[in-house]
Every structure is written in C-alpha cells, then in structure tokens.
Amino acid sequence: MTGLPGDAERIQLPERVVRYWRTNALIVWTPIVIAAVIGAVAAGDGIPGIAAVALIVVPLLAAIIDIAVVQPGRRRIWWYAIGEDQIDLQHGWIFVTRTVIPMTRVQHVEVQRGPVSSSFRLAELEIHTAAGSVKIPALDADEADRIRQQIADLARIADDL
C-alpha cells in the first residue's frame, strides 16, 4: 500500500502555540466576563439571585474551560507532514479531517503574521490551490518561512514575497 507523508513522520505545532491561543482567548473572554458581572450587578434586585449568580458564573466557567482545557487540546489535534509529492495534514477533535494536497497543485503559499502572533514568533501558513486554500494556524515563524520556501521549490513555482 502506498504511503502518505503523514504515515512516516508527523510534525506537531510548537508548544508555545498554547500560550498564544490562551492569550487570544483571554483577550476575547475578559470583556465578556466583565460585561456579565456589570450586568448582574446593575440588574440588582430586578432579577432573582440565582439568575445573577448564573450570569456571572456561566461565562466565567466557560472562559476557564476554554483557556485551561480547550486551547491545549487544539494543539494536540493538529499535525502536518511535507513530503516530496504531497502535503499531508490533519486536524479536528470530533470530526477529524485529514487533507492531502498534491505538490503540483499548489499555486502559492502565504505566511501571515499578526501583532499578537508575531510577539510569540508564530505565523500562519496558507496553502493555495485552484480549489481554495488550506491553513496551518500557527507555526514557528522561521519554520513557516522555511516551509514556504521548501514547498515553493518542490512545486517549482516562483517565490512571491
């Protein structure tokens, strides 16, 4: 049976990806929790005590679970492998998707950095084909550039910066 690159060696996302995603989650959840607390306090006697407690506890609990459990889980479910003929990658927890892209079908590869991801030296890799693109959400920035060059060489396309 012919093999896929991912059968031989699978590369995981760098560990600091978890801290990066946790930081993002914190940025998103903080205003929500603050708004919930303010809402519960402002409602005062307008709503029963149970509802006020729930209004505070539920978002707080969701934020804690998201930051503590979900983000590390996200890293565990991702891997990629780059072979001579194919790019092989897999992600997903309940619905697991393994995607294979023939190297000759790659049109171009983009590396994207945001303000937060740059501070963690991470970047996003986007692989474009004629049918759409596939993204690897967070890689070591230098590794991303190296892979971009590697894919460009393998796919024999012009390097576009």
């Binding site: 049976m1 012919t2 093999g3 896929l4 003929d85 194919q86 997903g92 309940i94 619905f95 697991v96 998707t97 393994r98 995607t99 294979v100 892209i101 023939p102 190297m103 000759t104 079908r105 790659v106 049109q107 171009h108 084909t129 004629a130 049918a131 759409g132 596939v134 796919a155 024999r156 396309i157 012009a158 576009d160």
Partner: protein, 506 residues
C-alpha cells in the same frame, strides 16, 4: 494579414472601431427595460396623459444615453491584446491579452438578429462566470475577425503560455495550458465541426416535464395571482371570492387541472426557448455549445479546461432512464450557464458512447462501482431517520387517531432514501479517471480527471473511527467536489495516497 505578419508582430495596429450602429437601439432597449416597471407604475397612478408624457421623456433619455454609449465605446486589437474603451463621463480602458482569453462566446437576441449582429463575450482563463468584457453589437464577420486576430498562433504546438508577452505570473505551473487560446482561423466556421450531440424536440419536452422548473412556474403563477389580487379593487376581489366559494367540487377540480396544464405549457415553452436547437460541436480541442431560440447563445468550452464531468440523475429521470451532464470547468467558479451545463438530457443507456464523443477520455463506467462495505450501509439510514423523526413524532403526538398512523410515512420514506443512498454510493479508478457516486436525493456521479484533483480529504466522526470507516472527498479546480461517505478507512487511505501519483506535469 498573413500569418507571417502576425508572427513577426508587424500586424497593422488598426484603428479603434466603434460597435455596430445597431448597438444604439440595443442599448436603448436595455436601458428602457430597466425602467419598464417604474413606467408602468407611473402610468397606473398618474393617469394616461401624464404617464405617456413621462414615458416619452424617459425613452428619449434612454435613446440619448444609448447614442452617447455608442459614441464613447471603441475597441481595437493592438499588441495581441484587446483594448476596450468605454465610459460616457468617466473613461475606462480595459485590456485583455490574447493569451488570457480562453473563449469568445457569442449571443444573439431578437434585436441582434434584426441588425444581423452578435454580442461577443470575452471569457478569460481563471475569470469568474461573468464575461470579462462584452462587445454589445458587432457583425458576424467582425466577430470572426476578432477571433482570428486574437487567436492566431504559430501552429497548435506553439510556444508555451508562459512565454507569451504580458501573461501574468499568476498562471500556475500546474495549469500551463490555461492561458493558451484555442481558436481557428476564419473560414472554418463552427458549423463545419462535427456535431457530437443534439437535443431533439421530444427531449426538450421531456426535459421540461421532468425538471423542477414546473414547480417554479406553478409558484410564479400563484405569485402572479397574488399580485393581481392586490391590483384589483377590493370590491372585485370580494366578488371573485364569493363566486369562488360557490363553485362545485368538479369546477374546482377543473380549475386545478387547468392550472397544472398552464404551468406545464409555460414550463415547456420556457425550456424550449432556453434550450431549443441545443447542439454541441467538437472542434478538436474545443466544444462549442449552441442553444436558444429567441436568444441564440454560443459558448465555448476548451476541452483542456474540463477537469471533470458530473452526471445527475434525479429520481424521476432515473426512473425514466434519463440523466443530465455538467462539465467541471477549471477557473469558472460561479459559472456562466452555457459553459457548465453540458447535456441537459440524455438517455443513460446512451452515455457509454455519447460521453467519450463529447469529452474524450471520460468513460461512463459500465461495470458496477466498488460499493461501500456492508457494515456501512446502516449508517446511511441515520441522517434520514433523524430528519424523519421530527414529523413522525409530531404526528404520533397528534390527538387524531388517523394522524398517528400517518407517522409511518416519513419513517418509511427515510428508510427508502437511506437504503437508496447506501446502494448508490461507490467509487472506481481506471484510466486516469476517478469515479465517485453518491445520492442525496438525485443520484450523482462525478468523473474526475485524476491528475486534476486539487486536494482530497478524509473526514471521520467518532462512530466511524470505531468502525474503521471514513468519508472520502475531493475538490476540483471548479471549486466543486464530491464526497462518498462511509468507505473502508484503508481504501480511503489508499485513495489519498494515490492523489499525487499521476500529478507530474499535470
């Protein structure tokens, strides 16, 4: 202009030309068409005299606009590119290099016929469905001249697309042939090319009768009835309603039959206007699809951009032994109709020999496809049963005893659909073509050129993983794809591994 002159780049620059004068009337009519509803509303509300006066002013405005449009629109072929200059106030110049043009489609509506002209739509490689630019009215000879000037190359095995001047570097290596225009010198009219498919009038009727368009027409008629009701005065409506309630049962039945007949006739006429005279001719590397009675459209599909073929058998058509065929054309994401619909109707039994004639290399599988494993079949029932559970439970909970019995209907329908889907699902690989078949409602078969697959994936849910099953999917450059669910996971792994095998030089 000889081929030598063209090759040497010494083609006469040519003067910018205007569109055919008929474009003035054509454009005026187009502009007026947009204003029609507004004019009708004005006529209805402001009275006849005022309405007519306003209408006259508007029409005059349309005519003036159309004349200015005609005067300000020029085009010229220069440096192997088509330059189009338009714009009454804000000038705009569009330049399309010949190497980017994948087809010059033409269409002829009634107005164009009156003047003996055609409208030319320029399709580009990698463009979206709408034509890159359009010349609203040129003579047939002029259209052929354009084809010649824009398409002439040093033989069919000419220099690769990458060397043509002005080709954007965005043309990917994997699609090297995408930028090569494929035209013929003038004189070889499309009609000389062999006809590979023709839709007979009988088939047009069957197409209309078996297509969902009848329901659309019926809905439109009902909608029109609603609008008419709004337009009539309240007294008239009430009088009609009174009459209606006094109708006997037989009268109601007659009216219902009349409604269905009218909807059917409209649907058939509409389909005939749209697909009348449907003919496909094949010109070595190009398909030319001509269709339409009032508005004749000619679209071209370069065969090397056909990366897959999709055969669709709706339940009704499958019962009668018919199918329709669509072409997956690269770069046409939200496609123009002509290019994508390959065959509106064909006898499924004829497909084995008709299909390779139209799109060489694509063979309708005569042997049964590899089926899904036995343990996967029952999984095809899950989704339909879950969907049917909602109405079934609602019926069971109904107070009326008879309704509870009806609950069996959605459940049995779900089982039938699920089993049909399990039976239809399958795959096959042969001669560089990957065949995938599945059924949601209609049975669909995708014949994909193996080395044109953009990417493939395997999706699994926890239940599938426990049973060693996976769902295999592919995506083509037309941005559409296919999925076959619940295949054995080793089979899927093998299919994934093989997607890259034939990719060299593709």
């Amino acid at each position: 202009m000889t081929s030598d002159e063209v090759l040497a780049g010494r083609e006469p620059a040519g003067e910018p030309r205007h569109l055919h004068p008929g474009a003035v009337l054509i454009e005026a009519v187009r502009a007026a068409r947009g204003a029609v509803f507004g004019l009708i509303a004005v006529l209805a509300s402001a009275g006849l005299v005022v309405g007519l006066a306003i209408a006259a002013v508007v029409l005059l405005g349309c005519a003036v606009f159309a004349y200015l449009y005609w005067r300000s629109t020029t085009y010229v072929v220069r440096d192997r590119s088509l330059h189009l200059r338009t714009g009454i106030v804000a000038k705009r110049e569009q330049v399309v290099p010949a190497s980017r043009i994948s087809a010059l489609d033409t269409s002829r509506g009634i107005l164009q016929r009156i003047f003996g002209v055609v409208a030319v739509q320029v399709q580009t490689a990698g463009g979206s469905g709408k034509a890159e630019l359009e010349l609203r009215a040129v003579t047939f000879a002029e259209a052929e001249r354009l084809r010649h000037e824009l398409g002439h190359r040093a033989g069919s095995a000419g220099p690769p697309a990458g060397s043509a001047a002005g080709v954007a570097a965005a043309v990917p290596a994997g699609e090297a042939v995408g930028g090569k225009p494929t035209f013929r010198a003038p004189g070889a009219l499309a009609d000389d090319a062999p006809v590979v498919f023709r839709l007979t009038p009988r088939q047009i009727v069957i197409t209309a009768l078996t297509s969902p368009s009848i329901a659309v027409v019926g809905a439109a008629l009902a909608g029109a009835g609603g609008i008419a009701q709004d337009a009539l005065s309240r007294d008239t409506t009430e009088a009609l309603a009174d009459r209606a309630t006094q109708l006997s049962a037989s009268a109601v039945v007659v009216l219902a039959i009349l409604f269905v007949v009218v909807a059917t006739v409209i649907s058939v006429v509409g389909t005939a206007l749209l697909y009348g005279g449907f003919t496909i001719t094949r010109d070595d590397d190009r398909l030319r699809i001509r269709r339409g009675i009032l508005t004749e459209r000619v679209g071209t599909v370069p065969l090397d951009r056909v990366h897959g073929v999709r055969v669709i058998e709706s339940p009704l058509r499958q019962l009668l032994g018919f199918a329709s065929v669509e072409a997956e054309v690269a770069g046409y994401a939200g496609q123009a109709e002509v290019s994508r619909m390959l065959v509106p109707l064909v006898r499924t039994a004829d497909l084995p020999w008709v299909l390779p004639q139209i799109v060489p290399g694509y063979a309708w599988p005569d042997a049964p496809l590899e089926p899904v494993p036995a343990r996967a079949r029952r999984r095809y029932l899950t989704a339909p049963l879950l969907t049917a559970a909602v109405p079934a439970i609602a019926l069971l909970l109904a107070p009326i005893g008879a309704a509870k019995l009806l609950a069996i209907l959605p459940l049995s329908l779900a089982v039938v659909l699920g089993l049909a889907a399990a039976r239809a699902a399958g795959w096959h690989r042969a001669d560089g073509i990957l065949t995938l078949r599945w059924r949601t409602f209609a049975r669909r078969t995708l014949l994909a050129s193996e080395h044109r697959l953009q990417f493939a994936d395997a999706v699994t849910n926890p239940l599938q993983r426990r049973a060693s099953l996976a769902t295999f999917g592919v995506r083509l450059s037309s941005r559409r794809g296919a999925r076959v669910r619940h295949l054995d996971e080793e089979v899927v792994h093998d299919l994934l591994a093989r997607t890259a095998e034939v990719g060299v030089g593709g």
